[in-house]
Symmetry: C2
Subunit: 399 residues, 2 copies
């Protein structure tokens, strides 16, 4: 191999934890690590019929499509968003390969090297990974289970003049937390006043355990206030299936247009066959009823996980019971480092993600993320028991 | 709209021709503009069955997949490449959203701002569009129907110390030209000696009008010479269907690994459902026979187009008869500007792409690209007749 080539490659630290967790992808390990939806609930039959409908539409359905995505699907998403009090037309929207691509494209068209982004802390690690390719400066804002701390936010906007604030306000990854409405309004006011763009990442917002709970999206609050300081992105990966990789981003028309141009260079367009099939699915299938079903099941799994965790008598451990989403965030005894706990856990046959991965700057090392959506209620007891043993072992080794 | 946001957006010149051609997408206009395969030959039934097979595999097929792509498909592509004397293992390969994404990811991991890329001139315009997002310097090398001029290439490598040379050596877009083997070998020797990476873009290489013609890929020649200075990218968009958007890139393991990391941040992975379906298609369908069929049809269309062009008595006009691919490149009388010809053409009801779009630096304004793969033999005569009228009108307006 010619070292001349490889030494010039832009390399980024490969996560040691990532490598460990890859090795753990065997049937023997019960995994609370991935952010996976429960595949036994996938609407496979409805999706199969949706593809059949597309194939009946004739050969043209398989030709090149528009960079911005299949127009009827954009129109349908625009309709669905009205239930969340978000009003965007189909030309203020771009279909992406998962919401992950939306994050990347915002960075590509809006952030020059050295630009400052504010984020919650901890936050979604692969968003951080996307941002880091653009040589930006990521500054964490003090955050708790109600959102970003208003004082710290104001101070950091003043000090750093950020271009963008990236947030997951509803059932966040990794914490499962929900921002208070007052904190949401505060963020919008601060950003609007200081011309800071907000990227609202909302992959989990529809997975609510109390169907009538209402958490206003940043986008809807901004629109009510007459501001266009919010770009909103979401995905069908958690509510339909991940394999299709269909997400979207909507907001300010000029920004969306710039992203469409950037996407053309990045991949011309995402799978237009999948987009047409998703349109057919939404047209013939009650997705809202499906979302109620999976939300109820995820709530059941979360409650079981919490009951089982109590039974493990872990002593010093804190969590906030999630009201939706897919994750439970644990804070263990202060002296524990969850990277060490993970080594014990993998030996016991259970996996999770240590909190370290989600922090900007110094991590709070006694934290960890558990996914409760993917493990069945049959497997859950064994998984939590193994986790309990790993934590007890870790405790005895540090005391 | 808050001007503070929109004025900070990284904007790139929107092509006036692109806007014109968008308007021309009506049934009344016969289009030689797009790079579209003939949809009446799409293997729709085989593809439908391929999806049915995936749906029968169970729910797990619809879960998240690997960033590098579905392993059995990578293995299958690796097998197929052996017929082209390219030897890569499945872990030296990344599946992408079309080969377009491969171009973008190479730029993302390998090119810092200010880095120099050498290209043919004219060359594929959306590759240029992808590169420009990375603030690189694109330097054209003198090119003719046999490839890059060796002297100019050597001079420009010495002068600019490029990091990358981007080429489409077989049935190029927009020219349809094929590099001589000696020019291929020369490029590899120059690049290997000077530690310059070659990105070989080969979307059309399999669409040969003489099935036994052999044009060695840069990758195979480099491997024979013991060099790993070539990254090779191709796609199934022209040989199966575009809607799936399945391409790949292969080569140096370290570079591929860096691209996998970059792709994780860019979109996690491409549609894994489509990748599994393509695997099933390749496993149950004779794609090579299909490629022979479409190649024969494209040759027939190309020959008809040339016969019809002769009948138009255009006077001063040059082309090289393509031996494969999808494009015919015309050089009209020197005094003609094909952007002006396009305006006449759209009035007549026919579209093409003026050569301007494909040049780095000053364009040769009397050139244009005709696509012959998408227009049926029934529609072809009317299309070429309209084009002939537009050229004659343009000639009389400048003389």
């Amino acid at each position: 191999m010619d070292d001349q080539f490889t030494k010039q490659v832009m390399t980024h630290k490969t996560s040691a934890v990532g490598e460990l967790l890859k090795l753990a992808q065997t049937d023997e390990v019960i995994s609370f690590a991935g952010g996976l939806p429960a595949e036994e609930f996938f609407p496979v039959e409805a999706l199969k019929q949706a593809f059949e409908r597309v194939f009946r539409m004739g050969n043209k359905a398989l030709q090149y499509g528009l960079t911005e995505g299949y127009t009827p699907l954009r129109e349908q998403i625009s309709q669905r968003l009205m239930h969340r009090n978000i009003r965007v037309s189909s030309d203020e929207m771009l279909l992406t390969t998962g919401s992950q691509q939306a994050v990347d494209l915002v960075a590509k068209v809006y952030l020059e090297p050295g630009a400052v982004i504010l984020t919650e802390n901890p936050t979604y690690l692969v968003a951080l990974q996307a941002f880091r390719y653009y040589s930006v400066q990521i500054i964490p804002v003090l955050s708790d289970e109600k959102g970003m701390d208003p004082e710290d936010l104001a101070a950091k906007i003043e000090k750093y003049h950020p271009k963008l604030v990236y947030v997951i306000p509803t059932f966040a990854n990794p914490t499962g937390w929900i921002w208070d409405t007052s904190r949401r309004v505060n963020l919008i006011e601060e950003c609007d006043r200081n011309h800071v763009l907000i990227l609202e990442d909302d992959p989990y917002g529809e997975i609510k355990f109390a169907p009538n709970d209402y958490y206003p999206s940043m986008m809807s609050l901004a629109q009510q206030a007459g501001s266009d300081c919010v770009l909103y992105t979401s995905t069908f990966s958690k509510t339909v299936v991940p394999a299709l990789r269909i997400g979207w981003i909507c907001g300010n028309r000029t920004l969306i247009k710039a992203m469409i141009h950037a996407k053309q260079g990045a991949d011309l367009h995402s799978s237009s066959l999948d987009q047409q099939a998703l349109f057919q699915l939404l047209d013939h299938y009650d997705l809202n009823a499906h979302i109620l079903t999976i939300s109820a099941e995820y709530q059941r799994r979360m409650q079981l996980m919490i009951t089982l965790l109590h039974q493990q008598r872990l002593g010093q451990v804190n969590w906030t019971e999630p009201k939706g989403g897919m994750f439970l965030w644990l804070e263990l005894a202060e002296e524990l480092d969850t990277e060490m706990v993970l080594k014990h856990a993998l030996q016991e046959g259970v996996a999770f993600v240590p909190g370290h991965e989600f922090y900007v700057g110094s991590p709070q090392k006694n934290t960890l993320r558990l996914n409760f959506s993917h493990t069945s209620v049959e497997e859950m007891p064994a998984g939590v028991e193994r986790l309990g043993r790993a934590i007890h072992q870790s405790l005895s080794s540090v005391r």
